[in-house]
Amino acid sequence: MKQIIKLKVNGNMEEKAVHTHHTLLEVLRSEYKLFGAREGCGIGMCGACTVLLDGQPMSSCILLAALAEGKEITTIEGLSDPGKLHPIQQAFIDHNAFQCSYCTPGFILSTKSLLAENPVPTVEQVRTYLAGNLCRCGSYYKIQEAVLDAAARLRGEKQNPPLP
């Protein structure tokens, strides 16, 4: 059964006919062709499908699409203007805070939420906040560096290096 719902994805409000039992992840991937959120575990454990709902990180693989109506949905594709990078993204590049990068959009969006709540996180706070995002390649140390660096950049303490 399909239902017409209004979703606001990356700032654009659109009506979509979606199956009532489909998750937000399925809808983002199949209807919007936004491939930055990915299924890793399908049960909300790994964080690879993380999107922001009104700024809060959520596992889109266990959220029915219809329940996201009326919320601001931000995916990795909506984090920055096309052709530009968010300071968190730039910090992840500069530290190469990934290997296969399947988990990277989830980590970056969780970091966005962390730094909105806590602009000056300690190492422990970074680790605790991001413990729900899994990186199987084990890039945690570089992620930690990138997050602390991004926090400094967002506080204006460090300028982004110019893009090559």
Binding site: A37, Q99, A131, C137, Q144
Partner: protein, 772 residues
Amino acid sequence: MSLGEALSMLDAEERVTGHINYTLNIEAPAMLVGKILRSPLPHAHIVRIDIARAQRLTGVGAVLSRDDFGPHTGYSGRYGRIFCDQTVVALDKVRFVGDPVAAVAACDEDTALEALSQIDIDYEEIPAVFDETEALTPTAPLVHDPRPEQQPMFSKMIEDLPGGTNLCSHFKLRRGDIEEGFCQADFVFEDTFRSPAAQHVPLEPHVTVAQYARQQLTLWTSTQMPHAIRAQMAELLNLPLERVRVIVATLGGGFGSKGSLRLEPITAFLALKAQRAVKIVLSREEEFVTVCKHPATIRIKTGVMKDGTLVARQVSANFNTGAYSDIGPVVARNGGSAMSGPYRIPHVRIDSCAVWTNIVPAGALRGFGVPQAVWAYESQMDMIAERLGLEPLEFRRKNLLCDRDLFATGEELSNIHFDELLDRAAASIDWSCDDARWLNRTEPKQKTVRRGKGLAMVIKATITPSTSAAALKLNEDGSLNVLTSSVECGQGAKTVLAQIAADAMHMPVRRISVSDPDTDLTPYDQQTSSSRTTYSMGGAIREAASDLKRHILDCAAENLEVSVSDLIIEDSQVMVRGTPQRSLSYGEITRLSNQGNLFGHGAFTTRGGLDLQTGQGIGSVHWHQGAIGCEVEVDIETGKIKILRLSPCVFAGRVVNPRLCELQLEGCAIFGLGQALFEEMAYGEHGQLLNANLSDYNIPSFADVPLKFDSSALEHAGSEELHGIGETLLPPVMAAIGNAVYNAAGVRIHELPLSAERVLRELSRANMSRRE
């Protein structure tokens, strides 16, 4: 200066914006969704299978079952890299819980699942065997009967054996005289160690899209072995090689799981039958029943002199390869040939077997048999040190292999750095002889949280012989395409290969583009595995660059009207020696050649192999070497282990990209940490996997990795030799932690993982025996 530069990955921007294209994202016109029906039983004959109702459902494009295979169809449906023991779908019987029995391609997932539920199957259950030791008893049920045929190309590597047993393969290594060795020894110690099944858990699951049109099969598939997949699919479909095209996008992790044929056969036959493109994406639960690390039981008997000199080692290892052999016999061989460790032992006898059972098939997993081996021999090294009252670091040092020593395979070693690696690992955790529990004369403080340090070392082969080929295409603007079939799994292959090409071609990395594998376009490569890409494909690229530079110089010489010997290459141009103003850029030379492009081709081949009866020969073109130090905290009231420090040290030859190298070292150590502390596929008594999800099967998170982490890559001054570093430091992690736990809490655990429950159980056992 592109070698040694800590560049971020060249495609980093696509990775942080979510735009990078995994196979998961691939769609083809009119594509159907494929789903697999799996066996609920561990071992059963298929009495009847009825797909008629499923086929009649609206939206179903094809239903695949055993009726599609056999002489009447022209397709045998049988495949396997070493033994032809696997089938596209079950033909006569099912052999493990999760074995594919049938498959459906339908317009959407819901329809496909509905169709699966309409397939009617009658099974006749038969006795099953799950444990590798039990499977070798004479009364054990046979998983394969008759014995499956061996693929001829492996006949020199794996000995064929008689049927009537679950013994799949038997690797033998014979060096010296083992009886004589044990006679000489002052002490002989025998211990048994076990490793359980563990899963790779690449976050991107296996994905295959298959399209069959005009008798050509195109596969977009998440594989680490595009050319091997092409060859096996061509054989399955009775097609010549050029009719099968395998295209591989960047992988969301592989770790060995994406090696052998996985989804390709079932997806291709669905596409053939439906005459439509079909895509299959595995769920996480299905990932767990597709391939895993070999559970292994290893009995190790070591003879040693009073002063700590090792004289003899006998090993009997059984690797549980599950229902299908996959690459299991080579895993058992690789683990087996490594079991003398980085030590000089004159008398060695190793028997390392792969065994068929009714559990999930085991295949390659980062470390390839060596993690199981190191868990056994490095745990035992500490146990022997304690029994002899020796300091474990000095005990190891006394026996370490050096240059010109002979390895257990009989080959002479060179470029050996164990001494320095051991020193680094020990120094990084401030190891002192007091850290060995049995040498510590201070009174134990009655604390509930105890600290301990541990060390472990590893020697590991890279697949030998092996072949990689590469082509370089110089464009009219002076830019360069590297055509390679090496797969980007997240290890940074594309970036590292670009750096090697840039160095060899004297041009900037930013003018170089490295291809994705496409068997229609990119030259042969054996596989992206065995930590071989940087070394082997890097070698092929260097060869190709020499070839291309010859063409460039010939063309430049003709146009500059000088002889080649008067020319030098520098900064993407060719100059006349002494008169640098007479020069031509790569772009100008390509245009002047009137050939469109200039091409260079190169191949890199290593030679070697081991004798089937003695395991003597060349086991590896060079040896991967590493050492790890770690410090842990054990809460003796809860059994919980906390890793405080982890210091992996690897011999890296020449590091191409220090940042990516660090990531590999960190990744190896963290992967090993998971297997050390909690990763275990748990089976119920009827062979059902109990924890096939990421809630019940945990992988390391930020909460598990130590705050102090200090990796180091030892470079060999003056050498241009590249060493793979993608696996070396995983195998010793488990034993280093196990040894540290012993030094902290006094409990020696023989079976992985070192779960809190197991530690607590051993602690209470130790307390009981102390009271008695």
